[in-house]
Assembly symmetry: C2
Amino acid sequence: MSGWLVIAGLGPGDDALVTPEVSGALSGAQDVIGYIPYVARVPDRVGLTKHASDNRVELDRARHALTLAAAGRRVAVVSSGDPGVFAMASAVFEAVEAGDPAWRDLDIRVLPGITAMLAAAARAGAPLGHDFCAINLSDNLKPWPLIEKRLRLAAEADFVMAFYNPRSRSRPEGFARALEVLREACGDARPVIFARAVATPDERLTIVPLPECSPDMADMRTVVLIGSSQTRVIPRSGAPFVYTPRSVEP
Amino acid sequence: MSGWLVIAGLGPGDDALVTPEVSGALSGAQDVIGYIPYVARVPDRVGLTKHASDNRVELDRARHALTLAAAGRRVAVVSSGDPGVFAMASAVFEAVEAGDPAWRDLDIRVLPGITAMLAAAARAGAPLGHDFCAINLSDNLKPWPLIEKRLRLAAEADFVMAFYNPRSRSRPEGFARALEVLREACGDARPVIFARAVATPDERLTIVPLPECSPDMADMRTVVLIGSSQTRVIPRSGAPFVYTPRSVEP
């Protein structure tokens, strides 16, 4: 049996941000599996079967991929960004753990990619230059009290924060509550970066102080970065640079 | 004046993890500036001047790069991993803020790369599949009490944790103290991943429960990932898969 399964990160959108490792794996795959817009990014070619599925069927998709690889196929599951950060890799390993014991011995590899917060940070300057955390704000995946607890502890730790999925269609009020918690816990004018669709033609970067944030500044394609108490804004003729210094003085 | 300055991420070591964006910028640069082993990774060619410097001169290096770009040169500052994560991008913006006001209007771009924790996580499975934080353990850059406070708050938030620079040559005792704090704050057998020199010929991955960790398992080339209370280990015939599920049940 010569099948394999890679879980490959396509980066935020621009093909110039896809690693050669991922491009190489995709050119050797027989099956590509993933959410419709990500599968669409893989060029068609003879011998490649595309299996595009809608959002929220991650476990079905993972089992499908494992079944094909177990049958000897060369399979790529594609994610945007990095597959290990709020994306398909965890779903595949959940399916492995709960599934056919033979799946554990398949050739499964995760191929890293440029995750959205790194692309967003690069556009703004270097806001993630000191200790930071990444939180998925979708409360489809965890109870709201846990999200609120993490926001308060992250503020107390003075982490820079990166939020994925700040505003879901099904529960748009979550992000408004997150902003309220942050205003209470941070209590000053930290810079906030709304980075929408970075590295795509729809890219838009907005930098505003925390008190001026409103929930409608984020949508499902936005990553939000909240500066720490140390984060600096450098005014200039264009959009300012935002960075967090490497050091904290004792 | 047509100079520019890119701060480019070379990824963890393997050229297959360098983005085409970074390769393209390097092929157009006239000057490459950085720490000796990273500059050595850029191929020599006619018209390219390499400026390699030792560690711990980040600000000098940044000012040098800005001076060259201001004089009209096309300059690449190279970092391993992602330049925005505990690497050169913050140093450049520190130099911009404190330096010649004309530097603010230079064409400065950060080109993201695969940061060490993403490469390490990919090798182990998907340990960063749920909320996580990244902490630079070097206490050259911040006072130890702040590091300890962040470790305790991160444990209370039940974040997966990624540690950069766990063990510096100058202060090897810091990581031992970090492990003590974690054992006290986490209190159970969380999986710990020591990922040394990932994506290089010296790569070594060690997965052990927290109580069995010893400080000498990390060196300056190691990234350490500490699982959350939810992180799972899937035994198999080879090295186990480690992943953190996407969801936390209410």
